[in-house]
C-alpha cells in the first residue's frame, strides 16, 4: 500500500538526519513525557489519598486547641501582650484545653450526631519484656471511643472500657504480634500480666484484649526494622497515661459523626459549640477540621498543580509542533528537486502531500513514543518517591500516542501542501 511506502520513506529520511530529527522531536518528547508523568503521579496520588481517606474515615472531625492568630486579633490585645508575637512556642495550660466535662456535655447536646469521641495521649516508645522475650511498642493512652474512630480490629478479648478509664485500671490492649513475641501461640494472652519498660519506669499491666496488627500501624518502622523488632501500639486507659503528667485536659480529640450526618454542617456546629468556651480566652481558640474537606483541599491543590504542569506541557507540545512544522518547511525546500522529479515521474499533488504529512507524523509519533517511555519512567519514579503505587491508564497512553500523531498531521499539513503545490518545472530547475 502507498501508506507503507510513505512510512519507509519517512523513516529513511529520519535516519539520514538523526540529530535534526531528535532536536525537532525534543519539544514533543518533553511535552508528552511531562503529561504522562503528571497524569500517572496524579492518578497514583489521588488513589492513595482516597485509600487514606477511607482508612481515616470521612466522617471523622478533628478538634484542636490552637493559638489565636495575632495578625487578625485585637491590636490592643497585642500591645498589652508584646510577647505574644513570639509566643508560638508557648504551651497551653490546663485551663485553656478541652476538658472531659466539655466533651461529655457536647456528646449529650449532640447525641443524635455523635457516634464516638476518640482521645489519644501518646506516651512514646517502650518495650514489653519477659526475661529473654521482648516486643517493641509505642504506648498510647486511649479512651473507649478510640477503637471505633481509628478502625482498630479486635480479635480477642475486649477494648479499654469506661470502667478502665474511670478506675485508672492497669489494663492493656496489645497487638497479635506482641502476643506472638511474648506468649507464643499456646497460651491465651487474656488475663496474663505483661511488664512494660518505659523511661519513666516499669509497670505491670493485665492484657484484656488483642487487636490485629496492620502495616499502617507503624508507618515508618515497618520497612526499616526487622519483622520481629517492629513497633506495635499498646493501648492503655487514657486516664492512666495522664496520671503522671501535669496536663490533665486534652489539646485535641477526634469526633466521629454518625453515618447519616452532614459532616460539613456538623463541623460548623462543633466549631460554634466549642468556640463559646474560648470567646474570652486571650491566646487560644479551637479549630475544627473535617477529614473529608481536608482531603478535598489536598486533592484540589493536587489537581491545580497538575493543571499548571499540563498547561506547560501543552505549551511544550505547541512549541514542539511548531518545531516539526519548521523542520518540514526546511525539508521541503531542501528537497524541491526531489519533489519536481517525483512529479515528473507521475506523482500527483495528493501523493506528495501524503508523503510529507506522513513524515511529519512519524517525527511526532516517534517523539511521542520516546516521551511516553520517558514519562512512564518519570511517573514510576515520582510515585515511588511519594510513596504511592504507580498507576498507568491505557486510555491515557493510547490518547497520548494518538495526540502526538495528530500534532504531526496538524503541523505537517501546511509544509506538505506547500510541497504538493510546487510547480514541477520550477521544482526541477531548483538548485
Amino acid at each position: 500500500m502507498f501508506f507503507k511506502e510513505n512510512m519507509v520513506l519517512a523513516l529513511e529520511s529520519l535516519r539520514s538526519n538523526k540529530m535534526r530529527a531528535f532536536l525537532t522531536m525534543l519539544g514533543i518528547i518533553i511535552g508528552i513525557a511531562s503529561v504522562i508523568a503528571i497524569i500517572s503521579v496524579g492518578d497514583s496520588l489521588s488513589s492513595s489519598i482516597t485509600t487514606e481517606m477511607q482508612s481515616i474515615g470521612t466522617n471523622n472531625i478533628r478538634i484542636m486547641v490552637r493559638e489565636k492568630d495575632n495578625k487578625f486579633g485585637n491590636p490592643r490585645n497585642r500591645m498589652n501582650n508584646p510577647g505574644s508575637m513570639l509566643s508560638s512556642g508557648a504551651s497551653a495550660e490546663d485551663k485553656d484545653l478541652i476538658t472531659i466535662e466539655m466533651l461529655e456535655a457536647f456528646q449529650e447536646r449532640f447525641k443524635d450526631q455523635v457516634a464516638a469521641i476518640s482521645l489519644n495521649e501518646s506516651r512514646g516508645t517502650g518495650q514489653v519484656k519477659d526475661e529473654r522475650l521482648y516486643a517493641n511498642v509505642t504506648v498510647s493512652g486511649v479512651n473507649p471511643g478510640y477503637i471505633s474512630v481509628n478502625n482498630v480490629e479486635l480479635i480477642n478479648g475486649r477494648f479499654i472500657n469506661d470502667r478502665d478509664t474511670a478506675g485508672r485500671k492497669s489494663v492493656a490492649v496489645v497487638s497479635d504480634k506482641l502476643v506472638k513475641n511474648i506468649f507464643g501461640s499456646s497460651i491465651n494472652p487474656i488475663g496474663q500480666e505483661i511488664k512494660l519498660y518505659e523511661t519513666s519506669g516499669i509497670k505491670t499491666y493485665i492484657v484484656v484484649g488483642v487487636y490485629k496488627y496492620t502495616d499502617s500501624d507503624s508507618f515508618f518502622g515497618a520497612s526499616s526494622t526487622s519483622e520481629k523488632d517492629a513497633q506495635t501500639s499498646i493501648y492503655i486507659p487514657i486516664t492512666l497515661a495522664k496520671q503522671d503528667t501535669t496536663i490533665k485536659n486534652y489539646s485535641s480529640a477526634i469526633i466521629m459523626s454518625k453515618t447519616n450526618v452532614d459532616t460539613d454542617k456538623f463541623t460548623k456546629d462543633i466549631e460554634e459549640y466549642f468556640s463559646k468556651y474560648y470567646e474570652t480566652n486571650p491566646k487560644w481558640e479551637v479549630s475544627v477540621i473535617n477529614m473529608a474537606s481536608q482531603i478535598e483541599t489536598a486533592s484540589s491543590m493536587l489537581s491545580s498543580v497538575s493543571l499548571a504542569i499540563t498547561i506547560i506541557a501543552a505549551i511544550s507540545l505547541l512549541v514542539g509542533g511548531i518545531g516539526v512544522m519548521n523542520i518540514m518547511l526546511v525539508s521541503v525546500t531542501e528537497r524541491t528537486r526531489e519533489i519536481g522529479t517525483r512529479k515528473a515521474l507521475g506523482a500527483k499533488n495528493f501523493h506528495i502531500r501524503m508523503q510529507f504529512i506522513t513524515e511529519a507524523m512519524i517525527i511526532a509519533l516517534v517523539g511521542g513514543l520516546i516521551g511516553l517511555v520517558l514519562g512512564l519512567l518519570l511517573g514510576t519514579l515520582g510515585s515511588n518517591l511519594l510513596g504511592a503505587a504507580p498507576s498507568f491508564s491505557l486510555p491515557t497512553i493510547v490518547l497520548t500516542v494518538a495526540f502526538s500523531m495528530a500534532i504531526g498531521v496538524f503541523f505537517g499539513y501546511y509544509p506538505a501542501s506547500k510541497a504538493a503545490q510546487l510547480d514541477p518545472i520550477d521544482a526541477l530547475r531548483y538548485e
Binding site: E5, A347, L428
Partner: protein
C-alpha cells in the same frame, strides 16, 4: 505517436515584454522513431520539452499523445500522463539519493498503482536491459555517472511509455561514458521499439539518431532524416 499542431507558448502575456517562446510549431513523431531536437540555449527547446513532457500547457495549439489531447488536461490528468505515457531522463539523473537502484526504478510504478510484486519483477528486468543487473541494491552515491544515467533510463521505461524524453542525457558525462549511455539508448530503441526524443545541443549526439529537428527562436528551422553513424 505524438502530434503537435500550431503550438504556441507565450510568457508575460499582455505586458510590454511579452515573450513568444514557441511560435506555430507543427510536428509529428511516429511510434518507434529515434529523434534529436537540437537548438542553442534560448531557442525554445526547453519550453518545447516541458510541453511535450506534460509539465506545462501551451498558450494555444494542440498536443496529442496517441491521439489523446493533452493540451487541455487538468493538473491531475497531466500527472497521470507524465507517469504512464512519458519516460523522463534528466541531465543530472535525478535519482532518489536515499533509495537503491531497484527502488528508484520502481518509483513511477508506485505512483501508477502497480503491485509490489509486479514492480520488483519489472524493475529487475529493466535493470538487466540497461546492464545494471549486478548493481540493483546500490545507492546512487555508490554508482558512477554513467551507471546513474542507466538506472534513470530503466526508470523511464517501467510504465511502458509512448515516448522517452531525454533532456541532455549525456550533458553531465564525459564522452566515453556518454557513448555508453547513447549505446543503451540505441539498444532500448532497437529492442523495445520505443519512441525516443533526445533534446541536446551536441551535434555528435544528434548524429546518432535517425531524425534531427533544429529549433531556433521558437520555430522549427529544419527537420531532416539522418543516417546514424554506428
Amino acid at each position: 505517436m505524438i502530434e503537435v499542431k500550431n503550438l504556441e507558448k507565450k510568457y508575460f502575456i499582455n505586458t510590454p515584454n511579452e515573450l513568444r517562446a514557441l511560435d506555430n510549431i507543427n510536428l509529428k513523431i511516429e511510434d518507434g522513431e529515434f529523434v534529436a531536437l537540437v537548438g542553442a540555449s534560448g531557442s525554445g527547446k526547453s519550453t518545447f520539452m516541458n510541453i511535450v513532457g506534460a509539465l506545462d500547457r501551451p498558450t494555444s495549439g494542440e498536443y496529442l499523445i496517441d491521439g489523446v489531447p493533452v493540451h487541455s488536461m487538468t493538473q491531475n490528468e497531466l500527472s497521470d500522463i507524465r507517469g504512464k505515457k512519458i519516460g523522463f531522463i534528466f541531465q543530472s539523473f535525478n535519482l532518489m539519493g536515499r533509495s537503491n537502484a531497484l527502488k528508484n526504478v520502481e518509483l513511477p510504478m508506485l505512483y501508477a498503482g502497480i503491485t509490489a510484486k509486479e514492480r520488483t519483477k519489472r524493475a529487475k528486468e529493466l535493470l538487466e536491459l540497461v546492464e545494471m543487473g549486478d548493481r540493483v541494491h546500490h545507492l546512487p552515491n555508490e554508482l558512477s555517472g554513467g551507471q546513474k544515467q542507466r538506472v534513470a533510463i530503466a526508470r523511464s521505461l517501467v510504465n511502458d511509455p509512448s515516448i522517452i524524453l531525454a533532456d541532455e542525457p549525456t550533458g553531465a558525462l564525459d564522452s566515453k561514458t556518454g557513448d555508453i549511455v547513447m549505446n543503451i539508448f540505441k539498444k532500448v530503441h532497437k529492442e523495445k521499439k520505443k519512441t525516443i526524443l533526445i533534446i541536446t545541443h551536441s551535434i555528435e549526439v544528434a548524429q546518432m539518431t535517425q531524425r534531427i529537428i533544429t529549433i531556433r527562436d521558437g520555430r522549427i528551422l529544419s527537420d531532416v532524416p539522418n543516417t546514424p553513424i554506428s
